[in-house]
């Protein structure tokens, strides 16, 4: 073909120029009107009290700053590690589709099976929340990862408990941790164990996978000086009514918990507040959208908790609440 026949006529060149300008203009308009997308990966499922609390506060706080696309990994129902890894993979695949501006996660499973293998050190900024006690095992902080670590007021809770049982018992400082055989609760127990050790206390753990075992464990726990009730998330066949009945029938030993939703079965609660996790995650996500680097936002922990007293159970246990507790603790039903 001749050279001159390949050359575009002038009107065609002009058309190409106009088309290019139009495309550039449309791209600019699209960029100007782009609404950020936040990809929220919850480790658990809808209906999990703690996760629902985080999600609710997250949604309220983030409001219309970004479009929140949620993916639930449902890790508490996983039968195997492979299931958890698949759930992490699925979250990643969805993230690729969503192309988010910021990734937000809650709880440990998301950190372990989603952030760590797929997102850490990528270009996408990540905010985690609800990771219990420590993040070193996940390699956090990273340049693109920041967040809020979930801690429980274990020490003040134990100090208060010791004050109370000191009046009831002349000796004995054995503590049992009754919880779920889950990633979260294992970590909780480990921290609890460290803290107890620092206080000169001896601790055991009963970590169960089903409700019947939990009921049995509860009955056994009455032999200890203090019972710490962990999470029920991950305990198959959990039955609230039955659990309440069990607690009322067998409770003799002072029981404590850091989880508000375990208060029906516990005498005293030093409970964490899920909303604090969601609110911080939302504020951090907004800061990241607005241009802050994740590396410039240090990790933080929750600072707020609440104190509860289950009057029914505490009365059955026949120990006297301190005046301070009477004045400061909230009454659970």
């Amino acid at each position: 073909m001749r050279r001159d026949s390949m050359a575009l006529p002038n009107y065609a060149r002009f058309g190409v120029l106009i088309l290019t300008l139009c495309i550039l203009y449309m791209a600019k308009v699209a960029a100007d009107t782009h609404h950020p997308i936040c990809f929220y990966v919850s480790s658990n499922h809808k209906g999990d009290t703690w996760s629902d609390g985080i999600e609710l506060s997250l949604r309220n706080a983030i409001a219309n700053k970004c479009t929140l696309v949620q993916h639930d990994m449902d890790s508490l129902h996983h039968e195997s590690r492979q299931d958890a890894e698949l759930a992490g993979r699925a979250a990643f695949e969805m993230m690729k589709t969503v192309e988010p501006d910021v990734v937000i996660t809650s709880d440990d499973a998301a950190a372990k099976y989603f952030i760590m293998p797929y997102v850490k050190n990528s270009d996408v900024p990540v905010v985690f929340s609800g990771i219990n006690w420590s993040v070193e095992e996940y390699g956090f902080p990273a340049d693109n990862v920041t967040g809020i670590i979930e801690v429980a007021p274990i020490k003040p809770m134990l100090l208060e408990a010791l004050k109370l049982i000191g009046k009831q018992r002349s000796a004995g400082n054995r503590i049992v941790y009754l919880g779920a055989d889950s990633l979260n609760d294992i970590k909780n127990f480990n921290v609890f164990q460290d803290t107890a050790r620092q206080m000169g206390l001896v601790s055991d753990a009963i970590l169960v996978s089903d409700f019947d075992t939990w009921q049995y464990g509860f009955e056994l726990s009455q032999e200890y000086d203090l019972i710490i009730l962990g999470d029920n998330a991950g305990i198959h066949g959990w039955n609230n009514r039955q659990a309440t009945e069990t607690a009322r029938r067998f409770s003799k030993t002072l029981s404590l918990t850091n989880n508000y939703w375990m208060m029906p079965y516990t005498a005293i609660g030093y409970t964490k507040i899920a909303a604090e996790q969601g609110e911080w995650a939302a504020a951090t996500a907004v800061a990241l959208i607005e241009g802050m680097r994740a590396a410039d936002i240090p990790l933080t922990t929750n600072t707020r908790w609440d104190i509860w007293v289950n009057n029914t159970l505490s009365a059955a246990m026949q120990f006297e609440l301190s005046q301070e507790l009477k004045h400061t603790a909230k009454m659970y039903r």
């Binding site: 504020a283 802050m292 936002i297 707020r304």
Partner: protein
């Protein structure tokens, strides 16, 4: 004022405002103007000066109040900040292990209530060897990444290098992702801060520090308050320093602090500084946002208010409030209002004073006017020519003017106080036997208005002496008659003048016999009476023959003498009842009243015979004066005066036609009379035709024969005048011209022709006629009309005609008859580009001689030479001679009356330039003529 009538003084209230003002201004003396001006000149600056001070003091007071309010608000906030620090200090001593959870709960409410405290927290005072301890402590509190930090030059936080002492930030509220990294920031890394914090620790004081560089937010002042170990605070400086664990800090945002206070702060330019040992460190500058619009600000210094708040260390918070001063809009408006009001009041006052003065002056002037007016009235009475007598209601004379004294031949002293009837008695002019009852006349005034009577004083002699009496009454304020005024005017002279004028209207001044006006009035009267009586009369119309000779020979005064003499002698020939009138210069009319034809003819014959012997002598001259006499009998068959006069004119004209000095009696059957009558009818027909455009124009073609051109080519037309009678028959031009020339109507007809011909040429421009030229005839009478040239020019311009397309034809006889004016006219016409043709050339005998002096372009050879040219060698030679003469003078020739081809052939042989005649084309109306050339394929 002095020329006002007394009555005008009472109309003061009805005067318009401009009039009143004008009057006041007139009464205003120069000194008063100066006084008013001085008052205004002094008062207005005083108002402005006063307004200046009031405005300044007002602004000053207002600013003071505002500053006090602002200072109060700021003090409250500074106090609140100090309270916060004191609270935190107290909290610390209650719970030294203050965790971040408790601190968050405690500070939450503080922050909510003090939005200008944007951050607060705790700082630690640690030595180098305590670094690990604090790191662990902070990690236990959840700050797993805790490190000591400082800002690098870019404002990024970096790890703090090794130092002997640190002041790290350990608690922070509110904790946000954006400020969380500040935890661990070493306040001691800021220049001078280590010394400041050490100092406040030693002095147990509070430090105010302006943080500017990389500290979050802008316009911050951070207050530091130290805390110490133990429950009892040490006293000495060294102990304090040794026991301090750090302290609390509060971050004040100055902008928010000021925003939160009264809106009054917006009225000031605000500058916030920290005075640290005399060094002023600027913190915040804000311009006033709510300043009212100020005028003349340059006249006022900016007012600066300075408020200081001391911390317990050497630092001092200084807030400078600058208040620009100037005239506010309100002040300007009030000042302007005051000035306008002052001017208004001054004006009102001035008007009031001036009106008082004017009123006084007016009263004085009014009195003077009364005196003046009375004197004027008296003077008027004295000078007026009418006799004026003033009577009281009892008809006793109150006043009498000099004219009345003279008229009534009395004296003033005798007359005044006398009853009027004692002084004079009056008779009605027309009823001289009756004495006018003045008392009754005055009593009837109410009904008669202002009656007038022509009266004659009883005893006064002379028929012409007549007085016109006018009476009127005067009323007092109650409307009752207060007296009467009698005015007697001597109208004798008016009467005489009136009689004279009446005489002049009906009599000829020269001959003393009645004039034409009287004659026609009398004739009309007699004719109108014929309907009711059966009388017959006769009218004799006499036109003196050769009277002009007498005037020309001896002058007009001799002519007048002749007329007087003739009149006197004619009067001797007629009866007293007959009416002899001079009805023209040398024309007399005689109405023979109540005569039959025989008597009339007898009397007329007597007059005719008189003229046969009448000789008028003057000095050595003797003139035999005869007259052409026309006689008309008047009976009840005569319709009107005009007909009778026309008949008399016809008869007289007939007498003149008969060689003058004849007596001709009008008879309708007389042929001469008929002709004359027809002529007269032409006059009205032509006039009507001119007025109603009954004339019309025909065109006859003229072809060019010269230069071998085809004779059928039509390039020229001659306009010909036509008139149709009521029956539609065409009237011959000869008849029209003959009558028109007789009644001097040719000028009007020529103008009609020129006007309409040129308009027609203009209308033909767009068609084939636009290529042609046209001839227009001018009569001999018009040739003598000096206004014709300008008329032609005006019509040319009006119709936008190219003059070169128009030929004007003047007959040879007309040109010769009015030679000098004709030469002028021809020259003028040629000067604006038209051509002139000499028409009917050859009909006159001296044609060649005149031709030399007439600057014409063409000669139209008289048709009498053309008609027989083919057969008559003399005609041929004549035409040839004319053509040759014209050719030698560059004059083109036109042959008229061309009626056959043989004639054309002869003309071509001779070399004639143009031909015209029935063979070429008959006259046609314009439309047909032009249609002819447009159809003619040969037409050019």
């Amino acid at each position: 004022m002095h020329d006002k009538s007394p009555g005008a003084m009472n109309t003061h209230s009805r005067q318009s405002k401009p009039q009143l003002l004008s009057k006041l201004l007139k009464h205003t003396h120069r000194s008063q103007w100066i006084g008013i001006t001085l008052f205004v000149l002094i008062t207005i600056p005083a108002i402005i000066f006063n307004a200046h001070w009031i405005n300044y003091e007002d602004l000053e007071n207002q600013a003071q109040v505002e500053v006090t309010t602002i200072a109060h608000d700021v003090s409250e906030r500074i106090g609140a900040m100090q309270t916060v620090l004191a609270s935190l200090e107290g909290l610390y001593y209650i719970s030294p292990d203050l965790g971040k959870g408790e601190f968050q709960i405690f500070s939450k409410n503080l922050l909510v209530n003090s939005p200008y405290i944007t951050m607060l927290g705790k700082y630690e005072s640690i030595a180098r060897h305590d670094r690990q301890d604090i790191k662990k402590r902070m990690s236990d509190q959840g700050h797993y990444e805790f490190n000591l930090k400082e800002f690098d030059s870019q404002g990024n936080l970096k790890l703090r290098g090794d130092r002997a002492h640190y002041y790290p930030l350990s608690l922070l509220e509110p904790q946000l992702p954006s400020n969380l990294a500040l935890i661990g920031f070493d306040f001691g890394s800021i220049s001078g801060m280590a010394e400041t914090l050490e100092s406040v620790a030693q002095e147990k004081s509070m430090a105010l520090v302006a943080f500017q560089d990389h500290w979050p937010g802008a316009a911050n002042i951070v207050a530091f308050k130290p805390v110490y170990r133990g429950k009892q605070t040490p006293d000495s400086g060294n102990s304090l320093l040794r026991q301090t664990t750090g302290g609390f800090w509060v971050n004040l945002n100055i902008s928010q602090l000021l925003d939160g206070i009264s809106n009054l702060a917006n009225n000031f330019n605000i500058k916030v500084e920290i005075n640290h040992d005399g060094d002023l460190i600027p913190v915040y500058v804000r311009a006033a946002t709510n300043l009212p619009k100020l005028y003349f600000s340059s006249l006022y210094p900016t007012r600066v208010f300075e408020q200081k708040w001391n911390s317990t260390d050497s630092a001092e918070l200084v807030i400078k409030l600058e208040k620009p001063m100037g005239f506010t809009e309100q002040a300007i408006a009030l000042t302007a209002f005051a000035i306008v009001t002052t001017i208004f009041v001054a004006t009102l006052f001035s008007i009031h004073v001036l009106s008082q003065q004017a009123s006084l002056a007016e009263k004085i002037a009014g009195k003077q006017n009364l005196i003046d007016e009375r004197e004027k009235a008296q003077t008027t009475l004295n000078t007026v020519k009418d006799a004026i007598i003033t009577l009281d209601p009892a008809l006793t004379i109150v006043q009498i003017n000099p004219a009345a004294v003279v008229l009534l031949n009395t004296t003033r002293s005798l007359a005044v106080g006398q009853p009027l009837s004692n002084l004079v008695q009056l008779q009605i002019e027309t009823e001289k036997a009756t004495i006018l009852d003045i008392g009754q006349v005055l009593a009837d005034l109410e009904y008669d208005g202002n009656p007038e009577y022509n009266v004659v004083p009883v005893g006064q002699s002379g028929d012409d002496f007549v007085l016109r009496l006018s009476v009127s009454s005067s009323q007092n304020q109650d409307g009752k008659t207060s007296g009467y005024v009698l005015v007697l005017r001597d109208i004798s002279h008016e009467r005489r003048m009136s009689k004279k004028l009446a005489y002049q209207a009906n009599f000829d001044a020269v001959t003393d016999c009645t004039n034409r006006h009287y004659f026609e009035q009398k004739l009309e009267s007699l004719i109108s009476e014929l309907r009711v009586n059966d009388r017959t009369h006769a009218l004799c119309y006499m036109d003196l023959d050769q009277f002009k000779v007498v005037n020309d020979t001896c002058g007009h005064h001799v002519g007048d003498e002749l007329l007087k003499d003739l009149t006197k002698k004619l009067k001797l020939l007629i009866r007293d009842a007959d009416v002899l009138s001079r009805i023209g210069g040398d024309e007399f009319g005689l109405i023979l009243i109540n005569v039959n034809q025989e008597q009339a003819l007898s009397l007329c014959d007597r007059i005719y015979q008189f003229f046969q012997s009448f000789v008028f002598s003057h000095e050595e001259f003797a003139f035999s004066i005869t007259a052409s006499i026309g006689v008309v009998f008047i009976d009840n068959t005569c319709a009107n005066t005009n007909d009778v006069l026309a008949a008399a004119d016809i008869a007289c004209y007939s007498a003149k036609d008969s060689g003058r000095n004849c007596l001709s009696v009008y008879s309708e059957s007389d042929e001469r009379m008929t002709e004359r009558s027809v002529d007269l009818s032409w006059l009205s027909r032509l006039q009507t035709a001119l007025q109603t455009d009954q004339f019309c124009l025909y065109l006859q073609p003229v072809v060019s024969l010269s230069s071998g051109m085809n004779p059928q080519h039509i390039t020229h037309f001659e306009f010909l005048l036509r008139l149709r009678d009521d029956d539609g028959n065409e009237v011959t031009p000869k008849q029209i011209i003959q009558a028109a020339e007789r009644y001097d109507l040719m000028r009007d007809i020529d103008k009609w022709v020129i006007k309409n011909a040129l308009r027609t040429v203009a209308e033909l421009n767009s068609g084939p006629g636009g290529r042609c030229s046209f001839s227009i005839n001018i009569s001999g009478q018009s040739a003598a009309d000096r206004g014709l040239k300008s008329f032609i020019e005006k019509q040319m311009k009006l119709n936008q005609i190219d003059p070169s397309r128009i030929w004007f034809e003047l007959t040879e006889t007309a040109a010769i008859s009015h030679f000098s004016v004709a030469v002028d006219l021809i020259t003028s016409i040629r000067s604006f580009g038209s051509k002139v043709a000499l028409d009917d050339f050859g009909s006159g005998l001296s044609s060649f001689g005149y031709l030399k002096n007439l600057p014409v372009d063409l000669i139209k050879i008289d048709g009498q030479f053309i008609k027989e040219i083919a057969n008559n060698p003399i005609d041929r030679q004549m035409v040839k001679a004319i053509h040759q003469v014209g050719q030698s003078m560059n004059i083109l020739s036109v042959a008229e009356f061309v009626e056959d081809q043989e004639t054309i052939d002869e003309l071509l042989k001779i070399g004639i330039d143009f031909a015209q005649g029935y063979f070429i084309g008959k006259p046609q109306n314009v439309r047909d003529a032009i249609a002819q050339i447009s159809k003619n394929p040969k037409a050019a």
